[in-house]
């Protein structure tokens, strides 16, 4: 059993399990599945700075912070106890393309060439680690949600603004990957 769990999980196992988070939250506490809101609650708790957007009772939403703390713990458990140390088996075309663009380390979940403290002060590392993160935090809040809140929770509940938002997530991702990222990787 443990051997099976240690293999990478196929999409048809992982996807439905992720989908079940939607009814789990509704049944357990009448909560809407969403992760990017946690970033807002952290702002409201730590640095509200008299900004009206952060003046609300974040403690009422603290369940969301407990949830993301659980995600950190899950990441730890999966890596420590359920890892088979498999490199991510991506399509060989993708590997070839990324190698041409200058990625050399394919051993982990993320390329160590870019995502490491030693890269943080290089232009490339700064863009991937700091600017990228900023865009994720700014964009998700501006959009009113992320992949979980819009793509999964929003579409599951048949809300068309979430369909629009999800299409925009994908459009932005395609533009970045196809037209901009090759230049950023080779910086």
């Amino acid at each position: 059993m443990l051997d099976i769990l240690k293999q990478p999980w196929p999409w048809y196992v992982a996807g439905p399990l992720i989908g079940l988070v939607v009814p789990a939250f509704l049944l357990v506490g009448n909560k809407a599945f969403g992760i990017s809101s946690s970033l807002r609650h952290i702002c409201a708790a730590c640095l509200p700075a008299n900004i009206s957007f952060f003046k609300y009772d974040w403690k009422k939403e603290s369940w969301n912070l407990f949830f993301v703390a659980g995600i950190v713990l899950g990441g730890f458990i999966a890596t420590q106890y359920l890892s088979g140390n498999h490199p991510v088996k991506i399509n060989s075309y993708t590997t070839t393309l990324l190698k041409q663009q200058g990625i050399t380390d394919f051993s982990g979940l993320l390329p160590h060439d870019i995502f490491s403290f030693s890269q943080l002060l290089s232009l490339r590392g700064f863009i991937f680690i700091v600017i990228g993160g900023f865009m994720v935090g700014f964009g998700t809040r501006y959009a009113g949600g992320c992949t979980s809140g819009h793509a999964i929770m929003g579409i599951s509940t048949l809300q068309w603004p979430s369909v629009v938002a999800t299409c925009c997530f994908m459009a932005g991702g395609f533009v970045m990957t196809w037209f901009i990222l090759p230049y950023l990787i080779s910086l």
Partner: protein, 136 residues
Amino acid sequence: MRNIKYPIIGMLFGIVLIKSEVVSWFRIQEMFRLQSFHMYGIIGSAIVVGLISVLLIRRFRLKTISGEAIIIQVKKFHWGNVYGGLIFGLGWAITGACPGPLFAQIGSGFWVIIITLFSAIAGTWVYGLFRDKLPH
């Protein structure tokens, strides 16, 4: 202690994110290059299961474990869905992670992603600061 359910759901969710490699930058690259079905299969089947669950909850008027009627909030369209969505999409392809995976990556031991998370929090804060001036 009544909050204990949420970290448990989070923990299971985090394990799934790591084991299915959703948190992998490489998987996101593959997805946006249309070179693998993996991510589309995950997001697609998650939506299908979510959709069916919500239909069942509505059909049978299920209540929460504490007996409340289940309320699903309506999301109203605003242009931020478009502008913010595009900005998030651009960033998603750079970091290879949406907010959930950022937390799972940190748990997995990628300490440098703590910087990415702080930066995402800063992004959210700056949005709050300029919210009234941005088109919605």
